[in-house]
Symmetry: C2
DNA sequence: TAAAAATACTCCATAGGTATTTTAT
DNA sequence: ATAAAATACCTATGGAGTATTTTTA
């Protein structure tokens, strides 16, 4: 089970000698020799230079070492995951997220996750991108969800989704079927926005600031603290708003809400999952990651 | 070699029956039964519901199926890669890249790649992000390098680096030690830029356009078609320029060039490697990807 | 020449084969 | 009733052990 030959190969590399590996694995040294010979016969390449004091890897050995580690890791993860099928998964997961993702997207994911894994403890730390990246790199967090660019050689990043804020109005609004509109014209409309400090509001204000504009110019501001309430008010044609595209995709398809095209503003950002490179993720972390990938808020 | 039991399990799932799998693998049906029983004993879980017409996977079977595929894929890749160590790698790699990456970053990578793998054919298609994404998703390209956000469920994306354009001047320039500067002030300086159509120029003009500004306002424009020449002119204090940060990192560290902080403009983008999901990359593609990850232009 | 790896030889566990029975619908 | 899977039983391969020789710096 689980490819004893590859495990032996890993032990030999780790120990630097067949004899020491034999002691570590509690089998005889000739058994080790045989297993390595079998691998060398299978791959038709010498894997080890036999030196007087221990061994050294050949180029083929180096390639196999990399693959052997990944293969054995998968075997381990498979066992662990199948073993965890019966019985609750226990343990703690430490997640880092930026404000936008942590407050806006994660609550529903964490709800589902806690339902399915009631015996786990979840620690969510909301910080800015730089802090999340640093904490993941330092090993203080199991994974992170960030949207900004960052530089850190210890981090492996995988794109989750792109998020885009769009301007919307009711289908009865006078801008409902308008062609492209500039920001000055749009700013004369009544705006309904999330409160200051909300993720969405922050994305919007940051983009305005980057474009050299001032959000205080917005007219007759109505503030609400839920996306749903804002959508309802916009649908009632009380005003317009800026909102994450994926939260209104259905309403737009049904014709209840309309998107207002504003070409001069870029409100897109890429949500990324980040992990510490070369670290084996815990079972519970892998579960969380796979739930995020499947969750509808990230599709 | 290569875990016959897992291969048998995959064949059984593929065929939907032990008997059919036995025929496909040219071994007896009881042999298949035994191998599956061994797996079930190892993992202490039933893997298959035995139905009258063929089999169905249990939850544990589904988990193992996923891992078995990944494990067998790694075994295949290991064999292929070790086999390729002696003798040139042959074949064709079709790479898609955006203008910015394809013209600006890839040439040096492709140079090295062709040196190390002279027997390969490289097809580089330079298109916009949307086209590259679509062609990779359609299977017409082996991989893609893009910098923009995109939406496509068939695509797996992995961050490569973040690229940032910065404004620079000579250390003798009057802005060399200035604090934050707004764009209007900066635009009164002599600008030295790449020609229209260059990747860097396009990033810059796009960002200006997004910020509602006009690049034609730039004063006394000098145009050159190489980054090196621009760096030399800026160092000679002939003017200022906007340039990819990583191409001047050394000169800034040595104090030859200075970065001019302009807070109102965001010139960052994330370079991403993209692949078609659930497709096994060819050996040559994997080699190219690993060379890109290691190449200094992406660090 | 001394430590480490390879070989020689024996033994037994296990994987595979054929023939047959049991199971599930 | 019948197709498919499980079991019984036999054989042979190969992996592990001990004892010993060969290799390498």
């Amino acid at each position: 089970m689980m490819d004893e030959k590859l495990k032996t190969f890993l032990a030999v590399v780790r120990c630097g000698s067949l004899t020491r590996a034999a002691k570590e694995l509690f089998i005889s040294q000739p058994a080790i020799t045989m297993q390595i010979h079998k691998l060398e016969k299978d791959y038709k390449e010498t894997l080890l230079y036999r030196r007087e004091r221990g061994i050294e890897l050949t180029p083929a050995g180096k390639v196999l070492l990399d693959y052997a580690r990944r293969i054995i890791r998968l075997y381990d993860e498979a066992s662990e995951e199948i073993g965890a099928l019966s019985g609750d998964i226990r343990g703690t997961i430490r997640i880092g997220a930026t404000f936008t993702i942590g407050e806006y997207f994660l609550p529903s994911v964490l709800g589902h996750f806690k339902d399915e894994h009631p015996a786990t403890d979840i620690i969510l730390e909301i910080e800015n991108t730089r802090r999340v990246v640093d904490e993941v790199a330092a090993g203080n967090l199991d994974c992170g969800l960030v949207e900004g660019p960052f530089e850190n050689g210890l981090i492996y990043a995988e794109k989750l989704i792109d998020d885009e804020l769009i301007f919307i109005c009711s289908s009865k609004h006078k801008l409902a079927n308008a062609p492209e509109i500039d920001l000055e014209t749009l700013f004369t409309e009544n705006f309904i926005l999330r409160e200051s400090g909300s993720g969405t509001r922050k994305v919007f204000e940051d983009a305005l600031k980057k474009a050299g504009l001032d959000s205080t110019k917005l007219k007759d501001l109505i503030q609400l603290n839920t996306t749903q309430a804002i959508k309802s008010l916009v649908a009632e044609n009380i005003g317009v708003t800026v909102i994450s595209e994926r939260t209104v995709r259905n309403e737009i398809q049904q014709g209840i809400l309309k998107s207002i095209p504003v070409p001069s503003l870029d409100l897109r950002r890429t949500f990324q999952f980040i992990f510490k490179k070369d670290i084996q993720l815990s079972l519970i972390t892998r579960r969380f990651v796979s739930q995020c990938r499947q969750n509808s808020v990230f599709r």
